[in-house]
Symmetry: C3
């Protein structure tokens, strides 16, 4: 009941943090799926639920935007930030759904490396978003955005090595189609993290 | 000749409605194509023409933006709305072109279901856009946006079932490549409808 | 040392031109790769370097935006312009990386035609960006944007013919997967050029 006395600005940050937590939950369920591919159906359903939860928080943020005159940053940027974060879990959920649909019983090291990079990238973003509360963190937030850009590059390199391997080793085109899509969905998730970092940089620019 | 006495605001709505009509025309030609896959070449050419017509209306709207000081909503949002609507027919046109290019002589139930969802989604959007003229329709427009979100989800579920079936039944990878692309183009069209709904929600937020 | 006396507005144009030059360098390296597919590894590494160079200029522009009060156009549009231009070389770099990864020893006429269209399209954009310095060029810039739209259409037609040929001739699905991806990356680069043209049109609209 204390919440309603909080300034609305504070409420935005709370919700953004809630959204990042919901997304981190989804990412950690995906990590679980990699360890137990036999439970891929159940876990992909749980990831879908995590995605829906993250989505609900996103809509709470839109609703708050709808009912707030003064927002901590430009409302368009908040909306873009929320959208792009949503995209991260969308891509991961897509990858998990494909693992279920395509009956993928065991994953490659490349999938594991990509998820590691993705989690590191998103952890960085969560930290950056928490730090947006304070203008003094400007330099550090910029550093985090640079790191997220570096991780996107690392993710892309893993994808390329994975594709090289896939096309060299596999003779079954259907196997290639399946894994190529899973690799690309995960790499796109890392791309979307970079997009989030770019929105954060825009916010820093506008609030310089 | 009466037109030039209409207020410019009215002219925007007229053009937006003209654009939605051109897109609906394209969607209904695609529906026709599903019923007569043997006429796929002719019909895909007609869909391309419908896409060009929709595009011309889009450019009329840009031109009007270019020459109007006061617009009914932020000009950037009008531009985004027009772009995203354009994308819907682009995706459908792509699907029809692929059916022609890949010589698809008969379609699956999944394609038919996806098009049904897509038409329902776009009909909702057309209605929402007509209702934007009046601020009193705010609640109802919001409801329509929620419905378009639900339909996007339904479209995604159909895609997933279709992929499961495709990979289970088909042994020909080239057949898989073709149908996967057609399914995904149609699902993307439903995604773009959701994007249109999101722009409409942004417009509602800004004009609260 | 004279540079610091230049008005900041001028500095934006200088950097935008530097970015277009870096991208043109990447495109011309890709053209070189088509002539010498046996040097695909080295050349794709050089294209990656060109992409990094273009990226560095992009970040200089963001930094300048960060430190400038009055910008020649809305800062959001400058950022979008820079992003979309960056995307052009990203797509081309992806195509060159795939040629290396997939061991593509010789290319088709369709690849060559697509690159020709792409270079023509980007040359037009470079010219349009140089002309943005002067409001008097408005009409001519609009004409260039229309031309870039036409070229995107031409690129799409080449893609379609190439796919028709690919699926008619090839019996090896892995070959189809590889070439389909290269064709689509190049066509997407032409699409991104159209996006750049659209941002330029937005800039013209806002500065009418």
């Amino acid at each position: 009941m204390l919440r309603k006395f909080l300034p609305k600005e504070e409420r935005f940050f709370e919700l953004l943090e809630q959204q990042t937590e919901a997304i981190r939950e989804g990412l950690s369920l995906f990590d679980e799926l990699l360890k137990h591919p036999d439970r891929r159906h159940d876990l992909s359903v749980q990831i879908k639920t995590a995605e829906n939860n993250a989505d609900k928080v996103a809509h709470q943020i839109y609703h708050l935007l709808d009912n707030t005159f003064v927002t901590p940053f430009d409302r368009e940027d908040i909306q873009l930030l929320v959208n792009r974060m949503d995209d991260v879990l969308d891509c991961v959920e897509k990858a998990s759904a494909r693992m279920d649909i395509y009956n993928i019983g065991s994953v490659t090291d490349a999938v594991r490396s990509m998820v590691k990079v993705l989690q590191e990238s998103f952890d960085n973003l969560s930290k950056a978003i928490r730090m947006l509360r304070n203008r003094k963190n400007r330099k550090e937030v910029t550093q985090i955005c640079i790191e997220v850009n570096r991780l996107e590059n690392a993710g892309d390199m893993i994808l390329r090595d994975a594709l090289r391997e896939l096309f060299k080793e596999a003779s079954d085109p259907i196997h290639i189609i399946k894994f190529k899509e899973i690799y690309e969905s995960l790499e796109r998730a890392t791309d979307r993290c970079e997009d989030v970092a770019n929105v954060i940089e825009t916010i820093l620019i506008k609030n310089a």
